[in-house]
Amino acid sequence: MDKTVKDVEEALAGIEDGAVIAIGGFFAAGVPRILLRALAEKGSKNLTLACGSGPLLGAKDELNALLSKRQIKKVIDSYGLFRSATKGAQHPFEQQVRAGEIELAVYPMGTLAEKYRMAGAGIPACFMPVGAGSMVEGATITNIEENRQARETRVIDGQTCILEYALKPDFALVHANAGDPEGNLCYRKTAWNFNHVMATAARVTIAEVENLVALGELKPESVHTPGIFVKRVLKVPRISFDITAL
C-alpha cells in the first residue's frame, strides 16, 4: 500500500468549506505547520479547527494567515487564548472571539483528549468526573451563548459525572518525525502529544512527516500510530522556529 502524496494540494484534496479539521500539536510542539500553511493557501472557509492545547498559539504565522482570509468559523480547544491578557487583547484572534465572529468552545484538556480517543475507538460517549462543580457541569462552554448546551450528569460512586460525547473530525492534520509509505508514524519527544489520538479520531488523517522512510525501517514495536489510522503521508522539510519567542 502506498499512501504517500506528491504535494500539499493532493494532501488536502477533498477538504471542503465547513469541514471539521483536527490540528495536532501542543503550543509550538508537533504542530503540522506545512499543512496549516497549505490550508490557508487553499482558502477553504467556515472551518472548525478542533485542537487540543493551543497549537494555533504555537503556530502564530499560520494562525494569522487563516485569520486574514477569515477561514475560521470555530475553534475547539482547552487553551486557545493567549496567556497574557494584554497580548491577547491586541491579537485579531481574540478580537474576533470577543466580537462573536469566531466561536471558541473550551473543554478540559484531558476531556478533550478523551473525546478524540472515543471517536477513534468507537465509543459514543462516557461519564467524566472532570469539571463537576464548575461551569463545565452547567453547560458546554462557548462564547456564543445560543450554542451553549445543557449537560447530562449522573452520580456514580458518589461523584457527579458529566456525559461527554466523542468528537469525530472530518480530517486530522498531524505532524510526525518519521513515517513510512503505509502510514506508520513515530513522533519525537513531546511533539507526540495530541497527534496520535487525533490520527485515530478523524475520517481522513493526513500526516506530514519530516522523515519518510522505507517499509521495515521503523522498528515494528516502536511505531506510535499504526498505519491503519492514516490515509495520506506527505514528506515535509523540518522547519526550525524559535520556541522562546512565543
Binding site: F26, F27, A28, A29, G30, G52, S53, G54, S78, Y79, G80, L81, R83, A85, G88, A89, E94, V97, R98, G100, L104, A105, V106, P108, M109, G110, T111, A113, E114, R117, P129, V130, G131, A132, G133, S134, M135, V136, I141, T142, N143, I144, E145, R148, N177, R188, K189, T190, A191, W192, N193, F194, N195, H196, V197, H224, S240, F241, I243, T244
Partner: protein, 224 residues
C-alpha cells in the same frame, strides 16, 4: 497596594518544595508552581508534565534547546536519564487516574471549603470562555493539591474569600495553600492558619483574609 511585604515568589516555591516527599510523582502548574522545580534538583522526585513526559528535566538554554521538547507551559526543557514520553490520553490517564502524588497550582481565589478558581478572569471580558488547559483534570485526579499564590491581589484585595466570585476550577479539592505571608491548611472546619511570615501578627493576616481563620495550636513562623 499590597499591605505587607512577604516572601518573594522563588521562596514561596522553596517552602512548597519542603512539603514534597521523596519518591513522589509531582505535577507543577504555571506560575509560582513552575519555580518549585528549581528546588527539587537532586531530590528523588519525578515531575510529570501533562504534554506527555515523565521525569522532566530542568529548563533548557541556548544550544540545549530542542523545539520538540517543551513542558506544558511551553518552556524548553531537558531530557534526563529515565525520561519517558507518551501520548496525551496516557498523560491524562495518569492525572485523572490518581497516579500523581502531588499537584501544585496557582489560583485567583480559594475558599474555606477548598474550592478554588484559576481558569478564567471574568474581567478579560471574553463572553464566558477562558483557558482551562489541564487545570480541572489535575484538580480532579489530585491525591494532594497544593496552591502556591500571593496572599492578595496586586491591589490588595483578598484571594482567600468566603465565596468564589471567579468561576471554580474544582470544589473541595485544595489541601494546603502557600502564600508570601502564610501557610494555610484546609480542614473540615475551614482555613487553619499554620505558619506566618516573621514579624506579622495573626491580626495582620486576618485583615487581608476574608473568611475567619482558625488558628493552629502550634502556629509558628514560616521556616525555610
Amino acid at each position: 497596594m499590597k499591605r505587607f511585604e512577604g516572601l518573594p515568589r522563588e521562596i514561596i516555591a522553596l517552602r512548597v518544595s519542603q512539603e514534597i516527599e521523596d519518591n513522589s510523582y509531582v505535577n507543577l502548574g504555571i506560575g509560582i508552581p513552575t519555580l518549585v522545580s528549581n528546588w527539587l534538583e537532586g531530590r528523588e522526585v519525578i515531575l510529570q508534565s501533562e504534554i506527555g513526559m515523565l521525569k522532566t528535566g530542568s529548563l533548557a538554554e541556548g544550544d540545549q534547546i530542542d523545539q520538540d521538547l517543551i513542558n506544558a507551559s511551553c518552556q524548553p526543557v531537558l531530557e534526563v536519564p529515565g525520561t519517558v514520553y507518551f501520548d496525551i490520553c496516557e498523560s491524562f490517564g495518569m492525572i485523572r487516574g490518581g497516579h500523581v502524588d502531588v499537584t501544585v497550582m496557582g489560583a485567583f481565589q480559594v475558599n474555606p471549603s477548598g474550592d478554588f478558581a484559576s481558569w478564567m478572569n471574568p474581567s478579560r471580558g471574553l463572553n464566558g470562555v477562558g483557558n482551562i488547559g489541564g487545570s480541572m483534570d489535575l484538580a480532579c485526579g489530585a491525591k494532594k493539591l497544593f496552591i502556591a499564590m500571593e496572599h492578595t491581589t496586586n491591589d490588595g484585595s483578598p484571594k482567600f474569600v468566603r465565596e468564589l466570585t471567579y468561576p471554580a476550577t474544582a470544589r473541595k479539592k485544595v489541601n494546603k495553600i502557600f502564600t508570601d505571608l502564610a501557610v494555610i491548611e484546609v480542614v473540615p472546619e475551614g482555613l487553619l492558619l499554620k505558619e506566618i511570615y516573621p514579624g506579622l501578627s495573626v491580626e495582620d493576616i486576618q485583615s487581608i483574609t476574608e473568611p475567619k481563620l482558625l488558628i493552629a495550636r502550634d502556629l509558628k513562623e514560616i521556616e525555610l
